[in-house]
Structure formats: structure tokens, C-alpha cells
């Protein structure tokens, strides 16, 4: 177990270094950093001096080490577009993305789990057929299209909810929150639904598959034989055993929620990190892009560190360490939906 943990930690560090290397290459070799800093009338000698002062003549390894050192302290240089420290910009944008992502994850769990239980228990009922059909459509519809449709219906035609932005926010230290104003709550509804929809269908299918699998097992039959009520069997025994993989997968999905937030934020002009990245791309704002790259890499490494990655659990049965449940089925299902 200890060897496993060490191996995982080592792997994570390796991944982070790779991501940092890509970011560093972007940062240093795309265009000339000196040109980005000085005016056109700077002499060649001054440029060389600046290059020397900034350590841009140092060997590659030294420069890279310096970059990593700065990155660890959250120092990514100045944004070309806004001429402010990138770390500061990211810190400003992060609360918006995190609030949206957690709201979406919460919604997905709140609706997805009961829907999964329902469709798992009443497999052939009319309602669960309808839910499954809707979920197929939900998986096929692109996220941005769902967002556009929601804007069209609820913002343009009905005029109930705002179509862009975060509404009024309250500052708590460096954190800004939209949860303390009515306007902020109204603003988060549509983006959160858009972001949650895909994850909701995923969780629903996962819970359904797990419920069906667990309900077939002997201990459920035994519980029924003991004369326990349906309610006790379904919720006390069956549901409890389906929740472990659900929590694992939801944890893993948090990363993809943050990734998909890029799309949702663009549709709703939500002032988070995703929108910041898209804007940085169109302005070729390399420091911001590099910082976003490192940050997202970091999020994913942390998320994957806490729970075994899909690849790991897919391989487990091959090694004959299978044991309880069927990890292949769980991850296979998650993959089929994520694709």
C-alpha cells in the first residue's frame, strides 16, 4: 500500500512537471519575452542587458527550475493584456468558477441520485423509460446548445432570469460570492443547470446500473426472505452499497465539471477562469494561458490522487485482485457516458 501511494505521488509529480514544462515552453519560446516587455526604441545593448538581468541567458534547466519555483509561489508574471500579475487575476476569477462548479455538482447529485434510484427500482415503468430517453438526448446535446436553448426560453422569451454575468457579488476577504444576494442566486440558476445536466445523466445512469446489479445479489434476496419491508431493503441495504462508487465517480467528475465550465462560462459570460482562458487565447495572452494550464493540471492531479483513476480500476480485474463488486462495470459505464 505504501509503495502504491509513493508510486502515485511520484506519478503526480511527474505529470505536474510535464504540464509545467509545456507551460514553460509556451511562456519562453512563443515570441520573445523581451519584445513583450520593452518598447520598440530600446537599443540592442539594453535588450541584451535586460536579458542578462532577467536570467534569460541561463541554461534551460536553470530557467525551468526558476519557472517551477515561481509557479509554486503562484507567480506567473504579468498578463500581456491587462498588465497585472496573473496570479492576482486568477485569484479574482477563481471564486466564480468554483461556486459554479460546486453548485453544478450539488445539483447533479441532488437530482441524479433520486432519478437513478427510481429508474433502477422501476425498470420497465413508463417514467423510467422517459427519463432514460431524455438522458440519451441530454448526452447527445452539446453543452453550449443546452445553454443557448435555456437562454432563449428563460431569458429572451419569458424574461425570468438574467442571461449573462454573476449578478451582484459580495466581497468576503479576497473571495467574492454571489450566494448572498438574490440577484446572484438568480444569475447562477441557468449556468448551473447547463453545467449539471450532463453530470446528472451520468450519475443517474451510474446509480441505475449499480442498483440493478446490487438488487440481484444474494444478500438482497436474503433480506427480502427475512421479510424486511421494501423500503428497508431498497434504501437501507441496496442504496447504501451503491453509493461508494457513486461518490468516487462524482469526485473524479469534479475535474471534468471544471473543464466543461469553460463552455458554460463562455455561453453565459460568467466571469470565471474558463472565460478568462478563452479571452486569453483570442488575445494570445501567453502568461494567463500558461497559468491556467498549470492550475487545471494541478486540479486534476489532486482529484486523481484522491481516488483511483479509471485506468487503475480497469486494470484491477486483469490482475485478479477483483474482489467485491465489479469495477470494470462501473468505470466502463462512466466511460461510455463520458466518451
Amino acid at each position: 500500500m505504501l509503495a502504491f501511494i509513493i508510486q502515485r505521488l511520484f506519478q503526480s509529480v511527474l505529470v505536474m512537471l510535464t504540464v509545467a514544462l509545456i507551460a514553460f515552453a509556451l511562456f519562453n519560446y512563443v515570441g520573445d519575452p523581451i519584445n513583450n516587455m520593452v518598447g520598440q526604441d530600446t537599443t540592442q545593448a539594453d535588450r541584451e542587458r535586460l536579458r542578462q538581468d532577467l536570467g534569460l541567458n541561463a541554461p534551460f534547466v536553470v530557467q525551468f527550475a526558476r519557472f517551477v519555483g515561481h509557479a509554486v509561489q503562484g507567480n506567473f508574471g504579468l498578463s500581456y493584456q491587462q498588465a497585472r500579475p496573473v496570479g492576482q487575476i486568477i485569484l479574482e476569477k477563481m471564486p466564480a468558477t468554483l461556486e459554479l462548479s460546486f453548485m453544478a455538482a450539488f445539483l447533479a447529485l441532488l437530482l441524479g441520485v433520486p432519478m437513478g434510484i427510481y429508474t433502477g427500482l422501476h425498470r420497465s415503468s413508463w417514467g423510467s423509460q422517459a427519463l432514460l430517453a431524455i438522458s440519451l438526448v441530454g448526452v447527445s446535446l452539446p453543452t453550449f446548445l443546452i445553454g443557448i436553448l435555456l437562454i432563449l426560453i428563460f431569458a429572451v422569451l419569458l424574461g425570468w432570469l438574467p442571461s449573462f454575468g454573476r449578478g451582484a457579488v459580495v466581497h468576503i476577504g479576497w473571495w467574492t460570492t454571489g450566494f448572498l444576494t438574490a440577484e446572484g442566486w438568480r444569475a447562477i440558476i441557468l449556468p448551473a443547470i447547463t453545467l449539471a445536466l450532463f453530470q446528472m445523466t451520468l450519475i443517474m445512469r451510474l446509480v441505475r446500473a449499480e442498483m440493478i446489479e446490487v438488487l440481484r445479489t444474494d444478500y438482497i434476496k436474503f433480506a427480502r426472505a427475512r421479510g424486511l419491508s421494501n423500503r428497508a431493503v431498497n434504501f437501507g441495504h441496496a442504496l447504501k452499497n451503491t453509493l461508494v462508487p457513486v461518490i468516487t465517480i462524482t469526485g473524479l467528475q469534479l475535474g471534468s465539471i471544471i473543464a466543461f465550465a469553460v463552455i458554460t462560462e463562455t455561453v453565459f459570460q460568467w466571469p470565471g477562469m474558463g472565460l478568462m482562458f478563452i479571452q486569453a487565447v483570442s488575445f494570445a495572452d501567453i502568461p494567463v494561458m500558461a497559468a491556467y494550464l498549470v492550475l487545471v493540471g494541478f486540479f486534476f492531479v489532486i482529484i486523481n490522487l484522491k481516488s483511483p483513476p479509471p485506468a487503475r480500476c480497469l486494470r484491477v480485474p486483469c490482475r485478479g485482485r477483483g474482489g467485491h463488486g465489479s469495477p470494470t462495470a462501473i468505470c466502463g459505464g462512466a466511460f461510455a457516458a463520458r466518451r
Binding site: S256, A280, V281, R338
Partner: protein
């Protein structure tokens, strides 16, 4: 259900292929486009014009015709990206499965790492980085290829893993050993004997990935890092239409969106059907 999906897919693909013949207008012929006709609503609404069945966009182009041409671009990008990722994935998978050892470890380590990030994020990063790297003049000309490469690079893992798995199983079978014993060149064994026996599941994955590739392209174009408005795909059309959504001109984005959703849904259903029909093991 499958029949419906197949016919919807056929109609859309047929319309895309025949776009120059059946489109009522040529949306990229500047002579026939008039700004006076801009943002006309669909024909059945007040103010609509029957020569523009689904209305016109902000530059007076016929929405129906732009959809035909846009679907063409979307399908082109989707198919090329899938073919390219298939080529890449199958090659790497064969190398990993056949050689084993350090090559296998390295390829699969990269695959593992890549698999822990969502594919769309990787495509977005590759495409975004390429976008800011290239100078503006070059950009518009090669955007198409960059996009195809970005999508292909983010989806090769599925192919590689599948091929590696089956290659490792096949490798130890008798016909491969027999070929080795009689001294067939390894390259010939891999291509002539191994490849035909591992290619089955690959074709199924390719169909399923086609829908995803089209979706990824549309998403990237919608985000503005994909195809430019001069060469619009369905995603670009939706992006353009999105700017006019708030002023009530819903048809510019909703019709391309509907076609995109129908296309993806039908390809998905066909892929699922193929999977069940040809390979019950994958279920």
C-alpha cells in the same frame, strides 16, 4: 429506432454532400448576398420571405444553405479527425502490444495520464495554444488542419488501448507463432496477420468517436478557437447566431443547433447499434 436514426443520418449526410447542388442559394457568393435581406425570419413568420425558407443571418445569407455547407465542414473535420486518431492510436497500440517492454510502458503511461483529463479539454488546450502561436495570416489557412490534429490527438487513447489489449492476446496465438517460426518478417506479421485480427472493435470505436469528434469540433468552433466565420461549420454558425439571440433573432442559431443535435444523436444511435450488432463482448 435504428432505422429512424439511419435515415436521419443519411438525409443529413446526403444534404451535406450534395450541398452545392441542392442548396437554394450560394451563401459564399458575395454577389447574390444582400444586406437588405439580413435577419429575415423564417418563411412562415410575418416578415418572412419564401425564397429564404429558414430565414437569413446577419449578413443576409440563407440559413438553410449555410446549414448545408456547414454540415459539410463539420462532417469533413469529424471524419478526418477520427481517421487520423485511428491511424495514430492503432499504430501506437500495435507497437505497444507487439513490442511490450519499455515501449509499451511509455505509450501506456502517456495514455493513462491523458485519459485522466477530459478529451475536450486537451483538444481545447492544443487548439488554443496553436491559435496563439500562429501568426494571423497563416492562421485562417491552416485552422482546419490544426483543428483536425487537435481533435485527433485527444482521442487516440481509446484506439491505442483497445488495439494493445487485443494485440497482446493475439500475439501468443498459434498462427502468429507459426508465422514467426517460418521466418516471416515481423513488420509483415504485424500488418498482414495481426492487424486484420484486431481491427474489428476499432471500427466500432471509430463510429462512436465520430459523434464525439463532430461534437468537439462544434464546441471548439463555438468557443471561437475553431473554424473562422469565413469557413463556417455548424459550431461557427451557432456562435454567430448566439450574438443575435438576445435581440430575438433565434433562427440563426436554433436551426444549425437542431441539425447538429440530430446529427450527433443519430450517429450515436448508429454507433450503439453497431456495437451491439458486431461485438457483444463490448456491451
Amino acid at each position: 429506432m435504428t432505422v429512424v436514426a439511419a435515415s436521419v443520418a443519411c438525409v443529413i449526410i446526403g444534404a451535406a454532400l450534395l450541398a452545392p447542388l441542392i442548396a437554394p442559394h450560394d451563401p459564399y457568393d458575395l454577389a447574390s448576398v444582400s444586406l437588405l435581406d439580413a435577419t429575415d425570419p423564417p418563411a412562415w413568420l410575418p416578415g418572412g420571405n419564401w425564397s429564404y425558407l429558414l430565414g437569413t443571418d446577419n449578413q443576409g445569407r440563407d440559413v438553410l444553405s449555410t446549414i448545408f455547407y456547414g454540415t459539410r465542414v463539420s462532417l469533413l473535420v469529424g471524419c478526418s479527425a477520427v481517421l487520423l486518431s485511428m491511424l495514430l492510436g492503432v499504430t501506437l497500440g500495435l507497437i505497444a502490444g507487439w513490442r511490450g517492454g519499455i515501449a509499451d510502458t511509455m505509450i501506456m503511461r502517456v495514455a493513462d495520464v491523458q485519459l485522466s483529463f477530459p478529451a475536450i479539454l486537451i483538444a481545447l488546450l492544443i487548439d488554443g495554444v496553436a491559435h496563439s502561436l500562429l501568426p494571423r495570416e497563416v492562421q485562417t489557412r491552416i485552422t482546419l488542419y490544426v483543428l483536425i490534429a487537435a481533435i485527433a490527438l485527444s482521442y487516440w487513447v481509446h484506439f491505442a488501448r483497445t488495439v494493445r489489449g487485443s494485440a497482446m492476446v493475439e500475439r501468443s496465438k498459434e498462427y502468429i507463432q507459426a508465422a514467426r517460426v517460418i521466418g516471416v518478417h515481423p513488420a509483415r506479421i504485424v500488418i498482414g496477420h495481426l492487424l486484420p485480427n484486431v481491427i474489428g472493435p476499432v471500427l466500432v470505436i471509430a463510429t462512436i468517436n465520430l459523434a464525439t469528434a463532430i461534437l468537439t469540433e462544434a464546441t471548439l468552433s463555438f468557443l471561437g478557437v475553431g473554424l473562422p466565420p469565413t469557413e463556417p461549420s455548424l459550431g461557427t454558425l451557432i456562435r454567430v447566431g448566439n450574438d443575435y439571440l438576445l435581440s430575438g433573432d433565434w433562427w440563426i442559431s436554433v436551426f444549425p443547433g437542431t441539425v447538429l443535435a440530430l446529427l450527433i444523436l443519430s450517429v450515436n444511435l448508429l454507433g450503439d447499434w453497431l456495437r451491439d450488432a458486431f461485438n457483444p463482448k463490448l456491451r
